[in-house]
Amino acid sequence: MGRVIARRLLQAIPILIGLSVLMFAWVRALPGGPAEALVRADASAAEVEAVRESLGLNRPIWIQYLAYLKQVVQFDFGTSLMSRQPVRAEMIDRFPASIELAVSAMIFALVIGVPLGYYAARRYGSALDHLFVASSLIGITIPVFFMAYLLKFVFAVQLGWLPTTGRSNARVESDHPTGFYVLDGLLTGNLGASWDAIQHLILPAIALGTIPLAIIVRMTRATVLDVMNEDYVRTAEAKGLTKFRISSRHVMRNALIPLVTIVGLQLGLLMSGTVLTETVFSFPGVGSFVAGALFARDYPTIQGFVVVIAVMYIIVNLVVDIAYAYIDPRVRAS
């Protein structure tokens, strides 16, 4: 087990180095050059020169690269042009909201998707199976922001069941020790605040989770169909085990293996998808902040977001690889 982790970590190193070189090149390619990108648009030539000097842009390129690496490792991306605050502080403020949203979306996709996919496989060829397959196809082709619009229009605007925007109701008193509002409510014993946060999460999470949901339904259905035809399931049947035991231990245990990869891949997509969802719901996370930065050409912020999400994506996939090895003994051994 330890060897598997070590090997995966080693494999990640060249990717991280390559990625950092690309990032470095990307920052230098940003409009106006790296110095201009880090100062206000109306800065004078002398100010730009001062920044160039302070950034060491007159030094050899590999020293600049190392200096850049040092910054990235410290998550130092300069000052946001929109808020005049350090990008790092803005990110730290907003990340919990986006992580809470992405995790809720994934939970929604898993809790609904796995049972639906399993059910479709068990009823292979039935009308319900066809319905699930058709709807998951549409689920994959619905743009995140359009789904967000539809949900907002129907459930927030027309029916008024759920809030249209934001993370919490200003009238609900709450403290935020962690920044994860649902968790905060539970920790401070303020269940009303948790419930308020959940209500604000439902629509954005469903919008963001629709594509992973559709993918999970299709994937679960396909793998369960495969696994049900395996010889070892027939052996389990021949042993006279109960239906529940066969589906939970013998079928799902095997069908879950490919699902782990999907969840890892989708979490990365969810984090970048927050840019679109949060914009529609004015959800105060990194996503909506970066969407604003894109309109305002706030390059330090964009840069910070890209770097952080890319690093998170690599870490998540590393964890997934390790989880994979834990679930599948054949990988563990090799």
């Binding site: 010889d231 021949a238 042993k239 109960t242 035991r245 599948d328």
Partner: protein, 337 residues
Amino acid sequence: MALLEIRDLKVVFTRRDKAPVHAVDGLNLDVDRGQTVGLVGESGCGKSVTSLAILGLLPTRGVEVSGTITFDGEDLLTMSDTRRREVRGRDIAMIFQDPMTSLNPVLRVGVQLTETLRRHRGMSTGEARVEAQRLLEQVGIPAARQRLGEFPHQLSGGMRQRVLIAIALACSPKMLIADEPTTALDVTVQAQILDLLRTHVADSATALVMITHDMGVVAGICDEVSVMYAGRRIEAARCYPLFEDPRHWYTKGLLASAPTLERPRADRLSPIPGSAQDRIPWAQGCAFAPRCPAVTADCLAGPPPMVSVDDTHQHRCVNPAQPHSGPAPADKELMSP
């Protein structure tokens, strides 16, 4: 009354837009307590389907099953799913052909063995573990205790088949069905596995149904043999008379196509011409007629009845081979199907 009585069993696979396939077509078969019965035939003759029908493991969609399968006084075909799951694994156990794929790759050997014990013998986890170790030792697996904690991919093919046998024997079933249990194994391992099965059947009161296409396996282990063709039994006898004195031309062909040590090596093996798909429906006559070297007009006059040679030997041939009549006439032209 026999332990297992199959009467007029029919299994039909129906497919959209295509003609239905009669996999088992009016099969009768008895197995007594403690008896070892061989079920022999080419692939596609319906022997595996029969075993799946006995255990109720056939798919529900696209399959029609009729007739009766009485096991220990109960009809397996009409009993409830819950009841069938109680009988399966406890009273009837099965060993499948391919040990490489028949064990769950992500569950430890111990789990796969103890789950049967806990389900059918009501053992606690601890008791089941002790018993599981005993069972593994019984089927000749060294370091049994350690093996319980291993995954199937850590075991060789022969070891896995031993594990599957241990699982099948876990509840001392009244009947064990072995579907080609040695086909996927190395020749040396084959002999060990057969030996293991033979010892166990001899030591217990377990009846064994050995499904195989290998006459050598039959000769080594079976009391009685039933030969199947096109979903029906075409000849049944005790082991020795069948080898000495086959009456049905198909049985004769099957025996002649297998190499033996007694025969001079210069003799050519005589394979049965054609394939199992060149057959006619039983309703029109003998299904083997298109491939039979001794076909006559009578063969196509309707379904041939079961004829008794003596108390233990029956066959379904209207123009049976005579005792020791020599090889079939080879120049006879084959009928087209």
